[in-house]
Amino acid sequence: MSVRNQPARFESDTDEALELNFDIQGHPVRRPWWKVWSKRNNRVPWVSIFVVLFVLVLPALLADVITTHDPLRGVLADRLTPPFWMEGGTTTYPLGTDKQGRDILTRLIYGARISLTVSTITILIGAVVGSTLGLLAGYFGGWVDRFVSWLIDTFLSLPHVLLALVIVAAIGPSFVTIVAIIAVTIWASFARQVRGETLSVRETEYVARAHVAGTTSWRILLRHVLPNVANTLIVLATLQVGVVILEESSLSFIGAGIPRPNPSWGVMVADGRDQILISWWISFFPGLCILLVVLSLNLLGDWLRDFLDPKMRQRGRS
């Protein structure tokens, strides 16, 4: 490789987007396709959006319309039918049935509804409670900050799987219980993030000027600080959907979450656990759904973070 073909590079910069496309003499730099592709980090992650839409959101919204089977009651005669491409499988049950003869695909679709509902509610609660406390702590400081920070630390060091087990042993598994448990565990991450952001926003010139101009604290918080932490909130909320789905399915898997016979993805994996040798499809597909959705949400969150960061956005366009 000749020296001319080496792209110029700024040592101090960590982003490859700043690699120049022309060398010193003005000749275009040729790069192999894999390098070109890898540089398009900031492209819209269509695949992720597609997966989240078609595995999580649409099934959740349209579950009653697109399914023909009952998610809770199966046909015992058809139990343990394999997926359609295997021997003995039929297209009536595209992904097979479980040991009670329930259609896996139907249950997956209704499971998406459970995942989406749980994550929406818990994130709304967590974001509202967490960001309120975070804003107050970061802005007012003093004992408010000390108390809220202590609360955050406490809730982050709670052994929440254990707590879920205790609560469920005490009052039994239900939808409300699981939502409460997860909301209690996720508000702290919102609070911590928002508090940190608020601390830095508070030191900015425009907040100081608003203060001098006689703006009330509440108005500063709502009109000047909140909009500036909104990006962080959006990114965090996206990433937390994945966290909540993982958490809900884990708890449901160990019997401390969504009670049977509801088709939570975690419950479905647990249902097929004993049959993994012969009827692997019962556990495999729900787990795959979790993996795909959470993976896509993580990619989406990372992309959003870069996209909403003004510095990164300019770089992406150059």
Partner: protein, 306 residues
């Protein structure tokens, strides 16, 4: 010092929470004792389980005893105390935890550093893929899939329980997957930042070998940020361990928590929750201390820029 006091306060809060949760069901006697229990037997049982007096008296005596390591007798195993039940199960969890932590550090840290140094290479690509997978895969499902393939189909390792060192392979892999992913990401971004900094440039200009630049000058400041997150990672690994222990029927404290909660063995559950919280708090304290060691700004009493 202040952190230690805060930790104690946290532990106190956890004890109230756990105690009141365990009493949510109402009187344990109603739940656990036989219906036709005689009045004398009931009184004796109350005495033994520390259920005498008002709920406040019960709590005070619970905290008093707990601070001396006495959590009362186990409801499920009447001949043992909660503390002894836990002590029996502890070695299995600790050994698994050590293996998983070592695996996490040995794989996560070097991979994160290398993928930052060789940014954009195939190694970086693989590392990024691994990080994404590790953060997204549900542990229980990965465990079942591994049992299905590695343990049953290829028959390489045992499916559950402890029988020799091979038993550690699958559970420790599953537990460490999340930690590896998280550490890898953190180290990668931290290293990228320090590798672009002025003092690394200076180190290079001085003519130091690339090895020294990366592993000495860049690594130390780069390991501060991941350290602060290690507490969170460790918590996630501990809770993940509960689920993994259940899948592998691993005779550790995580599985014990599951059994105890299902059997409503409240002394054991209370003790476990307090114990786990204490472990997490102590770990966070240790991290603070390490933090001070690594970052001279903290050690010298200046406030670190968080």
């Amino acid at each position: 010092m202040i952190n230690a006091v805060r930790g104690l306060l946290t532990l106190f809060a956890v004890s109230i929470l756990v105690f009141s949760l365990a009493r949510l069901t109402g009187d344990p006697i109603d739940v656990l004792a036989p219906v036709d229990i005689s009045r004398e037997d009931e009184a004796a049982l109350r005495e033994r389980w520390g259920l005498n007096g008002s709920i406040w008296e019960q709590y005070v005596s619970f905290v008093g005893n707990a601070s001396q390591g006495d959590f009362g007798p186990s409801f499920k195993y009447p001949t043992e105390t909660a503390a002894s039940v836990i002590a029996e199960r502890l070695p299995a969890s600790i050994s698994l935890g050590i293996v998983a932590t070592v695996l996490t550090l040995v794989i996560g840290v070097p991979l994160g550093i290398l993928s930052a140094v060789k940014r954009g290479s195939w190694l970086d690509r693989i590392a990024k893929g691994l990080a994404l997978f590790g953060q997204s895969v549900p542990e229980f499902w990965l465990a079942i899939m591994l049992i299905w393939f590695v343990a049953v189909r290829w028959n390489v390792v045992p499916t559950s329980g402890i029988s020799g060192w091979q038993s550690y392979i699958l559970p420790s892999i599953v537990i460490s997957v999340f930690g590896i992913a998280a550490l890898l990401r953190l180290f990668r971004s931290a290293m990228l930042e320090t590798l672009g900094s002025e003092y690394v440039k200076l180190a290079r200009l001085k003519g130091l070998s690339e090895f020294k630049v990366v592993w000495k000058h860049a690594l130390k400041p780069a390991s501060i940020a991941p350290l602060t997150f290690f507490g969170g990672i460790a918590v996630r690994m501990l809770t993940g361990a509960t689920v993994v222990e259940i899948v592998f029927a691993w005779p550790g404290v995580g599985y014990l928590a599951y059994e105890a909660a299902n059997a409503r063995d409240f002394p054991v559950v209370q003790a476990l929750a307090l114990f786990t919280a204490a472990v997490i708090i102590i770990m966070n304290l240790l991290i603070d201390i390490t933090y001070a060691y690594v970052d001279p700004r903290v050690r010298l009493g200046q406030k670190a820029i968080a």
